[in-house]
Each structure stands twice: as structure tokens, then as C-alpha cells.
């Protein structure tokens, strides 16, 4: 993706000129303005931020948590990637979370977080994210800030127009960017056109538990479903997807899929399709996908393979699916807080196309069609279009909103954020970004109730913004104060991985309910020890299970003998602390996985396969206390044929 943009960027000489101007403008912001900007972002030591921001980590596979306006990073939440910091994806309990129909996939490309909503407003229960590469959707708890569930999406490839939630969190919606044969089969690539499909998946969310269930997939023509957003308010019940490659090219896509003057925004009435499915509509298709659920009671993830999915042919459901012609390979597809306007950002053009939901309904009613594609009616452009924003920029990508009737659109090629008015379509302000901005985020900017105080612009190119760190640099983000008529750049901070979209919410929505410890008396892990007196070592063939507990500042037991070369030693470690922010770590020499970081009340397991005779130390990796350095122990490993009995002790007892 980035490469394509580089090429585009390279072709457009004007861009370079523009960037040159920006570079000059950067260091010049000083004096009175800079001091007021400093005051705006300064969160004094001991003070806390106003907003949480969840920035996708892109190819890091994880989600990062920041504070606004300070730009301070609080946490990296492991989602799709193994994370040695905590042992996620390495511990026995979390390995199942990364299971897929392709086996263990320890990485993904995380793009779009979306916070759960009730009545179109952020409710702060969960944040949903997509894995783009091996199509997956994850649900992260906003009490524990941990990944609780990952569901794989069959029949999809390049899970990009995801994970967007409907306004009561009825569904998480996940669309495929790459059309593929459905079901997958061996066939010539050049027979793509007319044969490949684009699956749009509707994953229901249990209102109490948040549990995900792949309810149905709409098998659309083989276009590329790029981004999407839910209808809200009056357009609740609809979902809008931008598309490109309506040409259905299968090679040299940058040229061949840029030929049509207009691609489409697909409008899907999911409530109609849901009703159709509830009444027995759709076809059951045999498939195979993983559904992984983590329990905070057993502190363990379980992976289940699902074998069936309901697919829906959109032409079989009357009045459920329409195409809205939208110029120039639209990328962003954003819906304003009222639900009336659907903004398509033709990424190869200068202008934004705004469709009207009311006009769309009237056009459907009046059958104002301009042909069809694979049996799906194409609505007449002039009958659905509400306005064109003559932006003066180039390469519009994404739009967010404040609650005052303003929209803010990023322009990748001209590297700027443009503020414009809904309904008059007038541009009121523009500010440069540094450089080549992708998504932007206003807390609640994708809901009925935006908190329009700051906008965060997330850029693809860093260049000279920070001290150089060799060829590879973190991406940069900018914070603008948008409370006034003109936007004001107030801060610049590096991010982790490659942030695409982000989601933000007021701090008070989450801070008070954030969990401090896991209760030991609620620990249902089968290998937990809730009292140090239960600590023990058991042998089962060549498997050795160590039931170990930790408290400041010792392991129980800390001397273990009777382990032999060739054994598979499971260290099941329960942290007996019930005090906020007192984790213990565990590592042992020659561990082929990673350390563990065990939160108070939690149990985690690391497998160790000793290969050499000797006396091998283990220790706590988290500086837990004044006696942290002493938090250590030994395992004696004897030859495979020795007959030393298992024994264990602490303080000689």
C-alpha cells in the first residue's frame, strides 16, 4: 500500500514542492504561539490526561494506548502478535489465542480500532480491532485492557474494511479487501473477473459478554472492499463500504484498477439481511475457521474450530444492497454524526463526494438506477450526491467530525488536514501534517457524539521530525487543537508500529473501572496454587508440572531436584500478590519461549525443556521489591537415566 503511495507521490512533482514548504513552516512555529501550545499539551507530573487514545499498531500487530493531549504512551496491548514483554503468545495459556485455520499465526497487521457504542455513543466496554493479513477480528476488554477474543474470518483476504461496529454494538463488520475464490479452490488467476467474490462478514456481539459469533456473510461481486462505516441515527441499520478495482483487474493493479472514473460505495441494509437470515434465508457453506476465547477466571485461552458459515447472495434479498457511484477509487467512507452524509474520499482526486442518505432512500424508492453490476442496482450519481467538497488538496483519505457541523479530512498527497463545513461544503481551514497523513482521529469522531477538542493526525512518513535513528523510524503523529475556528498544531509525537485508524474516548469513561488486580479467590486455573502450602512438583512420564507461587520476594518452591534431560517442565506460576501494580516475572536459562509477566492473582505457564545436565537458575524479571534481586531459585537437571526422586523446597522445608 505504502509503495503505491510512494509511486504516486513520486509522479506528482507538485507534492515535493508542497512538502518543501511544510518543512520550512515546521521550525518557524515559535514565540507566543508555541508557548500557548505548550500549555495546551502540558499535563503536569502527577496529573492525568483528558482522553484515552487507542492507536492501531499496523504491522506491529498490537494496539497502543496513549493519553491526549500529552501524547504519552501508557501501554501496548498484545493482540495478534507474540509479545515477550508479557509472554502473550508464548505462555501455554495464550498460545491458543493465535490459532487459525492456517495453524499458529504469531503476527498480523492491525488497522482499525472501534470502541463499543450504545445508542450511537461510546460506552467504553470493549474495543474491536481487525487483523488484516490472516483475516481476524479481536475484542479487547476495556476493564483489563487485554485481548479476550479473536475470531477468524473465512472466505476473506485482506480484512481491511473492518472492524467497525453498529451503533448498539449489534455487529462488528468485517469486509474483504482482496476478492478471492469462494470457497477457495485451485483456478487460474486470470479468471478472477466474474469468478472471485468479496465477502462482507457480520459478526454478532453478545450484549452481555461481548462474545462474537459469525452470523452471516454477504458474497458480493469481486471488487475490493476498502473501508467502511456504519450508518447511525436515521441511517442505522445500513452499512457503507467503499470499493476500488471495480474493473476486477488481477495484475498491475495500480494502473488497471484505476481506469474507471467512478467506483462504488456499497450500501448494505444489514437489518434486512439479518431478517432474511433469521427467517432461514442464506446458504450454509462448509468452511473452517478458529474462534479463540480467553477467560479471566481460568486465565486461559481456548481455541475452537468452526466448520460452517451462512452465506447470503445479495441479489436474493430484495432492496438490501445498492451501489452509489463515487469518483476515483474511494478510500475512506465516513458517516457524519447525524447519519445523513456519507463521505467518499476519491483518493486519486482533489475532491470529496458527499452522498445524502435521504436522497439515497428517495432514489431507491423512485428506482433512479443507472444500470446494475452483477444484479445489484447502481443508483444514479446525481440523485444520491449531496455535494462536492472542492478541497484544493490532493489525495483525500479519511474524514472525522466534531459536534459543531465541521468535518476534518486528511489529504495524503498534499499532506494536510482540511476543515470544512457540512451542508455548505466550504473549506474553512487547512493545516499541514508532517508528513503524508493517513487516518485522523477525534475522540468519538465516529459516533453520534464526538468530543471535538483535539484531532490526532497519524502520518506515514517521518523524515526529519525527530532525532534520526537510521533508515527505520517510528511514524509520527500530530495533535491539533480544534476547539477554535482555526486548527492549531500543538504537539508532535512518535507512535509505535504503523498506526492506521485510532479510537479515543474521555478518560472518565474508562479510568474508574480499570481493573487493579485479579482476585486470587476467583482464580480457576487448573494448575493454580492459591496457598503456598499447595506448591509442589509432579511427574507424569517425562512431563514435570511445577505448581509454583510467588510473593515478595520469593518463589515457592525455589529449589527443585529430580528433573532430567529430556523432560518437558511446565512452570505453572501463580502470583499471590493482591496489591495494585505488583507483577512478578519468571525466566529460566535456556527458555525457548519468553519470560512470563504474571499479574497479581494470575496464573501463567511456561514450558522449559532442559537439554543439559547442571544446576540452572531461574529468577523474577520484574523489579518487584527491595529484595527483587534475591527472588531466584535453582533447578537441578540430572542425566536422562538418573533415578533421583523429585523433591522441592523453600528455606530447606
Amino acid at each position: 500500500m505504502k509503495k503505491i503511495y510512494y509511486v504516486i507521490g513520486g509522479l506528482l512533482g507538485a507534492t515535493l514542492l508542497y512538502m518543501g514548504c511544510n518543512q520550512a513552516a515546521g521550525p518557524n512555529t515559535s514565540g507566543a504561539l508555541a508557548s500557548s501550545a505548550a500549555e495546551k499539551v502540558y499535563v503536569a507530573p502527577g496529573e492525568q490526561d483528558e482522553f484515552y487514545a487507542f492507536l492501531s499498531g499496523g504491522y506491529s500487530g498490537n494496539l497502543t494506548v496513549y493519553g491526549l493531549p500529552s501524547g504519552r504512551m501508557f501501554k501496548e496491548i498484545p493482540v495478534f502478535s507474540q509479545f515477550p514483554t508479557s509472554g502473550y503468545g508464548y505462555s501455554e495459556e495464550t498460545k491458543p489465542m493465535l490459532n487459525t485455520s492456517f495453524g499458529f499465526v504469531p503476527w498480523d497487521d492491525l488497522h482499525h480500532p472501534d470502541i463499543s457504542q450504545t445508542n450511537g455513543e461510546l460506552d467504553g466496554r470493549w474495543v474491536f480491532v481487525n487483523g488484516n493479513n490472516t483475516p481476524r477480528i479481536a475484542r479487547i476488554s476495556l476493564e483489563t485492557f487485554e485481548t479476550e477474543e479473536i475470531i477468524e474470518i473465512p472466505n476473506s483476504a485482506g480484512n481491511h474494511s473492518s472492524a467497525f461496529i453498529t451503533e448498539n454494538t449489534e455487529y462488528v463488520i468485517a469486509g474483504t479487501r482482496f476478492a478471492v475464490p469462494v470457497p477457495q479452490r485451485d483456478m487460474p488467476i486470470d479468471q478472477y473477473k466474474g469468478n472471485f467474490k468479496g465477502a462482507l462478514s457480520f459478526i454478532s456481539v453478545d450484549p452481555e459478554t461481548g462474545r462474537l459469533d459469525l452470523k452471516f456473510q454477504v458474497l458480493m461481486p469481486g471488487f475490493n472492499y476498502d473501508l467502511s462505516h456504519p450508518g447511525r441515527g436515521k441511517s442505522h441499520g445500513w452499512h457503507f463500504f467503499s470499493t476500488y478495482n471495480t474493473e476486477e483487474a488481477n495484475t498491475l493493479m495500480e494502473v488497471n484498477s484505476s481506469q474507471n472514473d467512478k467506483d462504488f460505495i456499497a450500501a448494505i441494509n444489514w437489518q434486512k439481511i439479518e431478517e432474511y437470515v433469521n427467517n432461514g434465508g442464506g446458504e450454509k457453506m462448509a468452511t473452517n475457521y478458529a474462534h479463540n476465547v480467553y477467560s479471566h477466571e481460568t486465565h486461559t485461552g481456548t481455541s475452537t474450530m468452526k466448520k460452517e458459515v451462512v452465506t447470503v447472495d445479495p441479489t436474493k434479498v430484495p432492496d438490501a444492497v445498492f451501489f452509489l457511484p463515487t469518483p476515483k477509487s474511494p478510500h475512506g467512507c465516513d458517516v457524519d454524526p447525524s447519519g445523513e452524509y456519507i463521505i467518499g474520499s476519491g483518493k486519486l482526486s482533489a475532491d470529496l463526494t458527499v452522498h445524502s442518505f435521504t436522497k439515497m432512500l428517495a432514489a431507491i424508492e423512485g428506482k433512479k438506477f443507472d444500470g446494475e453490476a452483477y444484479g445489484i442496482p447502481i443508483l444514479s450519481f446525481d440523485d444520491v450526491m449531496a455535494g462536492i467538497v472542492k478541497s484544493g488538496g490532493l489525495g483525500p483519505l479519511h474524514t472525522e467530525f466534531d459536534a459543531r457541523g465541521n468535518a476534518y479530512t486528511t489529504f495524503f498527497i498534499s499532506s494536510e488536514v482540511v476543515k470544512w463545513r457540512l451542508e455548505t461544503w466550504d473549506v474553512v481551514d487547512r493545516k499541514p501534517t508532517f508528513y503524508s497523513v493517513g487516518h485522523l482521529m477525534i475522540p468519538g469522531g465516529n459516533s453520534r457524539k464526538p468530543f471535538g477538542k483535539y484531532v490526532v493526525a497519524m502520518n506515514k512518513i517521518t523524515k526529519d521530525r525527530y532525532l534520526p535513528t537510521g533508515p527505520e523510524m517510528e511514524h509520527s503523529a500530530q495533535i491539533y487543537d480544534i476547539s477554535g475556528e482555526k486548527m492549531e498544531l500543538i504537539y508532535d509525537f512518535p507512535t509505535h508500529g504503523e498506526p492506521h485508524y485510532a479510537a479515543g474516548c474521555p478518560a472518565e469513561l474508562l479510568a474508574s473501572k480499570s481493573k487493579k488486580i485479579y482476585r486470587l479467590d476467583e482464580n480457576k486455573h487448573p494448575y493454580a496454587v492459591t496457598n503456598p502450602s499447595e506448591a509442589r512438583v509432579e511427574r507424569n512420564g517425562n512431563e514435570v508440572h511445577v505448581y509454583m507461587s510467588t510473593i515478595r520476594s520469593h518463589f515457592t518452591p525455589d529449589n527443585i531436584e529430580g528433573v532430567k534431560v529430556g523432560d518437558k517442565v511446565y512452570f505453572h506460576i501463580t502470583n499471590h500478590e493482591q496489591d495494585f501494580d505488583v507483577p512478578h516475572g519468571f525466566s529460566i536459562i535456556g527458555q525457548n519461549t519468553s519470560e512470563l509477566l504474571i499479574m497479581p492473582g494470575q496464573t501463567k505457564t511456561s514450558v522449559w525443556e532442559p537439554k543439559q545436565v547442571g544446576v540452572w537458575p531461574f529468577y523474577c524479571t520484574d523489579f518487584c521489591s527491595a529484595l527483587h534481586q534475591e527472588m531466584q531459585g535453582y533447578v537441578r537437571v540430572s542425566p536422562a537415566n538418573s533415578n533421583i526422586d523429585l523433591s522441592w523446597s523453600l528455606g530447606g522445608e
Binding site: I517, I551, Q578, D579, A626, L627
Partner: protein, 207 residues
């Protein structure tokens, strides 16, 4: 008198005393509520966490109700005194007992209170100075004597990284108000009975 002594019963519900331990890394201080029948953490896991910290300096773990006779005897004494006080008040109300009984109850209660405080202080001295000789950290005062970790009986004391605060809580305040009420009742009772005696004498004189 009855209300006053009944207020003692508040001690069965509310803590008598509280010791709070704050430190830089404990922005939310750890706390100990002392009830007449045992100790409770100010937050659910505070006792476990105080014990966890105290093991570094060799302090004994905080006593459970069965570890100290006080937690059995105090409720009996308080319950008993409340019952006796109510009885005295009732009999006083129907003029069977004079206000001297009220004052007597107050004096006994005050002595018991002082004994209780003395005992509480003695326990803290033992707890704060009777340390495990194999303690992880053995700290000394500048004069070379072993450092004491006895919390203050009342007020604030700095102990290593901790600020200890020791103050009475609602149960103690109720007891204090109750005792004042009994004193007040004795005073009022004394006045009215003197008046009554006077008028009685007057009547007798006129007849």
C-alpha cells in the same frame, strides 16, 4: 443515660481506631481499622499487604481475632457496660436509682477506657519492637539501638518511607459522645432530683 450507653453499641459496627500508612509508592495509603473484635483492612487486601511489607523488617503478622484475648474480652466488656448503663438509665427514669449511679458508671467506663488504651499501646510497643532476629532489614537509630516500628498512639509519625497516622474512628467518637451524654444525664438528674427533694421538703414543711 440510656441513649448514651446505647451509643457504645456502635462499636460493634464501626471501627474504634484507624492506622493509615502512606508512602510515595502508596498514593492510596494502606490502612488498618481496629474494631473491638478484630482488625480489618481499610481496603480489602490491606492486611495481607501490610503483613507483606512488615516481613522485611521482621514484624509479626497482624493478629487474627483468636490470637488476642482482647478481641474476645472487649466485646463482652463493651456489651456489658452498655447493658448495665441502659439498666441504670431505665431504673433512673423510674426514680429507683439516683444520679450517683450515673456518675459511677461514667467513672468505671473511663477507667476501662484508659486501661483499654494502655493495653492497645502495650500491644503496639510489642508489635513494633519485638522483631524477628533474622529480619531481612535490621535498621538502627543513630545511637545504635534497634529501630522501633511502633505506630503512634495518636497523631503522625514518620517511619522509614512511611507516614503513619493513628486516629480514632466513628466507633470511638460514638463512645465519647455516649459517655458525655451519660455525664450530662447525671448532671441533669442531679439537678432535678435536688429540686424534687427541695420541693418535697417544702411540702412536708407546709403540711
Amino acid at each position: 443515660m440510656m441513649i448514651g450507653s446505647a451509643l457504645l453499641l456502635g462499636l460493634f459496627v464501626f471501627p474504634l481506631w484507624n492506622i493509615e500508612l502512606g508512602a510515595p509508592q502508596y498514593p492510596e495509603p494502606l490502612g488498618l481499622n481496629i474494631h473491638i473484635d478484630g482488625l480489618q483492612g481499610q481496603s480489602e487486601f490491606d492486611i495481607q499487604n501490610i503483613d507483606g511489607l512488615n516481613h522485611y523488617i521482621g514484624m509479626k503478622t497482624l493478629p487474627k481475632p483468636e490470637d488476642m484475648w482482647e478481641f474476645t474480652v472487649f466485646p463482652i466488656v463493651i456489651g456489658g457496660m452498655a447493658a448495665i448503663g441502659i439498666l441504670i438509665g431505665l431504673l433512673g427514669f423510674v426514680d429507683k436509682l439516683g444520679p450517683s449511679w450515673f456518675f459511677g458508671w461514667f467513672v468505671v467506663m473511663t477507667i476501662l477506657g484508659i486501661l483499654g488504651m494502655y493495653d492497645f499501646n502495650a500491644w503496639m510497643v510489642d508489635y513494633g519492637t519485638n522483631l524477628d532476629p533474622n529480619a531481612i532489614m535490621k535498621l538502627q537509630n543513630p545511637d545504635g539501638t534497634p529501630m522501633s516500628y511502633k505506630p503512634p498512639l495518636l497523631g503522625h509519625k514518620k517511619m522509614l518511607n512511611f507516614d503513619a497516622y493513628s486516629y480514632p474512628r466513628l466507633g470511638a467518637y460514638l463512645m465519647f459522645i455516649g459517655m458525655c451524654l451519660t455525664l450530662f444525664a447525671g448532671y441533669i438528674g442531679g439537678k432535678t432530683s435536688t429540686k424534687r427533694t427541695k420541693s418535697l421538703t417544702k411540702n412536708m414543711a407546709t403540711t
